[in-house]
């Protein structure tokens, strides 16, 4: 089996709100000083899902793909350290400032160029723009079935069985390979690579493909090919006028709160 993990490098979503800044002219997030970008959390869980299938199926290979800047090598190396076999960076100035449509187009072209892929694993959403589209767009582009927001995956021959999280419960969906799966945090914690694996991963080579390698025209990718235009990026105003309850004891504070809530007709 050949599994692909799509891994995106993003600004750390745990950046404290006070350090989160945007450039309103460029409609861009300004990277926070001293906080390194990270592998999007759901993507490390997607990698965990692929690794567990590889271990169960035996004789399988995992390729991790990232579209991004040279720095995205770090995200690729992290998945390699977890146990993926090969890394692929999709890097071209033409790929920047795209939308889910163009991202999926580039990733789909890479999967098609690899040729022998049995399943693609994505995160349920990238924790920067929170779209939750790429996996489904790839499934459409590849013509494969898909199962989104997975909390469990199992393989029975050529049949993939996916436990999915719904708003009010769970379902088990089955689809034939090849297929696309997007993975959610309910799947569980991703494994933590050992030092030796990190050192091995550092030595693994990562192949780079450009738009030309993928047979894509600059006009159909990145900002030029996007279906959505970002008009405005802004930080919403917070009122921030909290009233803290005074009192010497817990009971006094609690009583003050009840009084305040009654006064405001909330209770």
């Amino acid at each position: 089996m050949h599994f692909v993990v799509c891994a995106k490098q993003i600004p750390d979503p745990e950046t404290p709100p006070s350090a989160f800044k945007i450039d309103p002219q460029k409609n861009e997030v300004i990277p926070a000083q001293g906080i390194a970008p990270v592998l999007s959390q759901f993507d490390s869980i997607a990698a965990e899902a692929a690794l567990r299938l590889k271990e169960a199926a035996g004789d399988s290979k995992i390729t991790v793909i990232s579209m991004g800047a040279e720095s995205a090598q770090a995200a690729i190396k992290q998945v390699l350290a977890m146990g993926a076999d090969e890394g692929l960076l999709l890097n071209d100035p033409a790929f920047t400032k795209g939308d889910p449509h163009t991202t999926a187009k580039v990733l789909t072209a890479a999967v098609q160029k690899l040729g022998d892929v049995d399943a693609v694993f994505c995160g349920r959403q990238a924790a920067d723009w929170d779209w939750g589209q790429t996996g489904l767009l790839m499934a459409e582009g590849l013509g494969w079935p898909s199962a989104i927001i997975a909390k469990g995956v199992a393989l029975d021959g050529q049949q993939l069985s996916v436990e999915r999280v719904l708003e009010d419960g769970y379902e088990t969906a089955q689809a034939p390979l090849p297929a696309v799966v997007t993975v959610s945090n309910e799947f569980g914690e991703p494994r933590y690579p050992k030092l030796q694996q990190i050192m091995q991963a550092a030595r693994k080579t990562v192949t780079t493909w450009t738009a030309a390698d993928l047979g894509l025209d600059a006009a159909e990718v990145g900002e030029a090919g996007s279906r959505l235009r970002l008009e405005k990026l802004f930080i919403p105003e917070k009122e921030g006028k909290v009233e803290l309850m005074e009192g010497d004891t817990a009971t006094e504070k609690a009583q003050a709160l009840v009084k305040a809530l009654q006064g405001a007709k909330v209770l």
């Binding site: 404290p16 449509h101 079935p145 069985s161 945090n185 930080i235 909290v242 309850m245 009971t251 809530l261």
Partner: protein
């Protein structure tokens, strides 16, 4: 201006759900003169009257019960048929398990773009603009669409329904029955929280990682009980759910449930943007946290700084005493 809007409606036990009426409201405020609602599954044609009362001008239905269990490939084919009938400039869906899957698939098939999980959608001099929260709620982004139709999924409770127009009616039409699916649903398990549902509660009390142990939720549940089992429900942060302290179905936030109660009480929750994405629509937020610098106090109207182990039981007593 959007003249034709298509709303992909959803049924709950054969009845039109509340979000569908919110989507019709949004379509109307976009200035759409034709609002077509597509309804799929058992009870669809019976639910049409409620869609008309909610502001739909046309309702397309298929009562095929195969649609009751949502499968993306079956639904997308039916909605494509609705698109052919309605020629929409804008397609509105809920940010539900239906919209999450259909919007990107439709976007691909119609070679256009989809903006997910939007709080607002407006007509700006003839162009549809959609505003959504990004970076886990740290920022907001407004998008326009390069191609037509514009596809937008809307967060529950972000838009108001119209005043119902009793007895209203309109044109009806049919959608095809379900096609074959490549996906089989081998099982489905509904995990309903006992009693009041989170989204229906007028008061939500949520607990976070700061509770320190699953037992902490007993203290939180006591508080909810004192507030009234008929109006207060218990939620949790993702950190608490991931630790297995509370069921994921009760998670509030970006990747959990969106709640808009009159009162939201956050106990031992730091107020990460991804959590606030699920509760910032509450009318009044109260925070109980031992750290006076916690981000939650940026959002809260009232706060108590202190250890929840003392503060929450004291609050439970004070509420009982005030009754």
């Amino acid at each position: 201006m959007a003249s034709n809007a298509l709303v992909v409606g959803e049924l709950a036990e054969g009845e039109l759900n509340a979000t569908t009426l919110e989507l019709i409201g949004a379509a109307s405020r976009l200035g759409a003169s034709n609002i077509t609602v597509a309804l799929l599954g058992g009870g669809a044609s019976g639910a049409a009257s409620k869609a008309f009362e909610g502001g739909a001008t046309k309702v397309l239905t298929s009562d095929d019960a195969s649609y009751d269990e949502f499968r993306g490939d079956q639904w997308v084919a039916a909605v494509q048929n609705a698109v052919e009938q309605a020629s929409p400039d804008v397609i509105l869906l809920a940010q539900s398990h239906v919209g999450r899957e259909l919007a990107p698939r439709l976007a691909f098939r119609l070679d256009t773009g989809a903006a997910m999980d939007c709080l607002n959608v407006e007509d700006d001099g003839g162009a549809v603009k959609a505003t959504r929260s990004v970076y886990g709620g740290n920022a907001m982004a407004t998008y326009s669409f390069v191609t037509s139709p514009a596809i937008v999924t809307v967060r529950a409770k972000a838009q108001d329904p119209l005043e119902p127009n009793a007895g209203a009616s309109g044109e009806t039409g049919e959608l095809p029955g379900a096609s074959d699916s490549r996906t089989t649903i081998a099982g489905r398990e509904i995990v309903e929280a006992a009693g009041l549902q989170l989204q229906d509660a007028s008061i939500v009390v949520s607990g976070g990682r700061g509770l320190g142990a699953p037992e902490g939720f007993q203290v939180v549940e006591e508080l909810a009980k004192a507030l009234g089992a008929d109006r207060a429900a218990v939620g949790a942060s993702r950190a608490a759910c991931d630790l297995g302290w509370y069921p994921p179905s009760q998670q509030v936030g970006l990747t959990g449930k969106v709640v808009t109660p009159d009162l939201y009480i956050a106990v031992a929750i730091s107020g990460a943007s991804q959590h606030m994405a699920g509760c910032s629509g509450a009318k009044t937020i109260v925070a109980i946290n031992k750290d006076p610098e916690a981000n939650i106090f940026q959002f809260a109207r009232y706060g108590i700084v202190g250890d929840y182990k003392e503060m929450v039981p004291a609050l439970t007593e004070a509420i009982k005493a005030a009754k």
